[in-house]
């Protein structure tokens, strides 16, 4: 059995670790609150934009744009894919990073000719360590998602798409479904699937045809970029929210584990201490008894 000193040291170290995890929990929860309010504020814009593109597309179903998936019967696209992988800058967030990376690896397996665009230090590090080439990595964007950053990423991806280097563009990000569950998704950003826009029928029906100024193609071309940068922006924010949430849950679990460990250790410590005291008393009383017997003789 370990001595009191060792147990005491152990208790101290567990306490110190708990202080750190507790601080991280608090930081993650404030960051989460901030990120969540950001997400709430960008939602109306993004939902309206998505709805409008859907409706434009419906009014003019035969519009031909390079952003749309070739109609049925055309040869399938099998060129190089581009994939934007959104990870965190730091670990200690439960399975958050692993889930994203697993999704990316699954994708690489299915289609080896994929160029990776990585957001976040963790992902960059992981792919570098496993000798998986990265086309481009964006540093320090996972921490602080801004529209400018999203625009920059969008410009790089769109440029590759426009020049025909990338046939399809995917985004792998983590979606926070509610405050408890979040899951890694891979979504195709470009080209758009015609059905993707047409199927959902919740929005208002078009009663009167719209007049397009100057033309449908010009309008679509102009808003496509905002749509993609908007999508990337909301994916960044969504991922950031999930990251903080994952970290919060992980740190909460760590706190609880530390609590349990401390309970067990202090029990053990008290037992050892008690045993030591009992032994000492036994020794003292045995010694005294021996003395008494010697004197009475």
């Amino acid at each position: 059995m370990a001595g009191t000193k060792e147990i005491k040291n152990r208790i101290e170290s567990v306490k110190d670790t708990k202080k750190i995890t507790n601080a991280m929990y608090l930081i993650a929860s404030t960051k989460l609150r901030k990120a969540k309010s950001g997400l709430e504020r960008t939602r109306p814009y993004f939902e309206a934009l998505q709805g409008e593109i859907k409706r434009i597309f419906r009014t003019a179903g035969d519009v031909d744009s390079r952003y749309f998936y070739p109609p049925e019967g055309a040869p399938p696209l099998n060129g190089t894919y581009g994939c934007l992988v959104i990870t965190a800058d730091k670990g200690l967030a439960g399975a958050y990073n692993q889930n994203v990376i697993k999704e990316a690896q699954r994708m690489l397996k299915e289609h080896p000719d994929t160029k990776l665009f990585v957001v976040g230090e963790y992902g960059r590090h992981f792919f570098a360590q496993h000798n998986i080439p990265i086309e481009r990595s964006f540093l320090y964007t996972a921490q602080n998602p801004t529209m400018d950053r999203a625009r920059e990423i969008c410009a790089i991806l769109l440029d590759g798409f426009d020049r025909g280097e990338l046939e399809k563009i995917f985004v792998i990000y983590t979606d926070m479904e509610n405050s408890l569950t979040s899951s890694a998704h891979s979504t195709r950003l470009l080209p758009f699937h015609r059905a993707h826009f047409v199927t959902t029928t919740v929005e208002k029906a078009v009663t009167e045809p719209f007049e397009f100024v100057p033309s449908i193609e010009a309008v679509l071309d102009n808003i496509m970029e905002s749509y993609i940068s908007g999508f990337i922006y909301s994916a960044l924010i969504d991922s950031f929210c999930s990251e903080q949430n994952a970290r919060m849950t992980a740190m909460d679990a760590a706190n609880r584990n530390a609590e349990k460990l401390l309970g067990e250790l202090s029990l053990q410590y008290n037992r050892v201490r008690q045993a030591a005291i009992t032994q000492e008393i036994t020794e003292v009383s045995a010694g005294a008894k021996a003395q008494r017997q010697k004197n009475s003789r």
Partner: protein, 136 residues
């Protein structure tokens, strides 16, 4: 004067929602004015100055970037990447951004960086223009 409902959203937050008397937006075809009972239409918005007048208030300006505007049954929806009121614009920051963008253009890097710098310059100059007209 007749009014119409307007919803102006930009990427970070809703900008304005409510009644409006007149709205002028920069489009690919030049400035486009919208009054009440405008016919249904959709147009592409380019970076520039948006002018709007709310009931009982003088005309106000805002710097907007690319997006779209939709008019449907007297209900106007403006979706832009960013929309800023003059008082929200930091002139020093915009000037700095403009200088940086000009420098980046001069450096003649890749096409894609050039395009990005050009877009940044357009945004910065547009901000400055709105800010200056606000002070006069």
């Amino acid at each position: 004067m007749n009014t119409f409902q307007v919803h102006i959203f930009h990427a970070n937050s809703p900008f304005y929602e409510g009644e409006c008397e007149s709205l002028i937006l920069p489009t690919t075809e030049g400035d486009y004015g919208i009054l009440a009972n405008h016919s249904n239409m959709i147009a592409a918005v380019v970076p520039g100055t948006m002018t709007y007048r709310l009931p009982g208030q003088p005309e106000q300006l805002a710097a907007v970037s690319a997006g779209l505007v939709k008019v449907e049954n007297n209900d106007v929806l403006v979706l832009v990447d960013s929309a800023e009121r003059p008082e929200e614009i930091d002139a020093n920051r915009a000037e700095r951004a403009a200088a940086e963008a000009k420098e980046a253009i001069l450096q003649r890097k890749t096409v894609q960086e050039y395009k990005l710098a050009q877009a940044n310059l357009a945004r910065a100059i547009n901000r400055l223009r709105v800010k200056r007209s606000f002070h006069q």
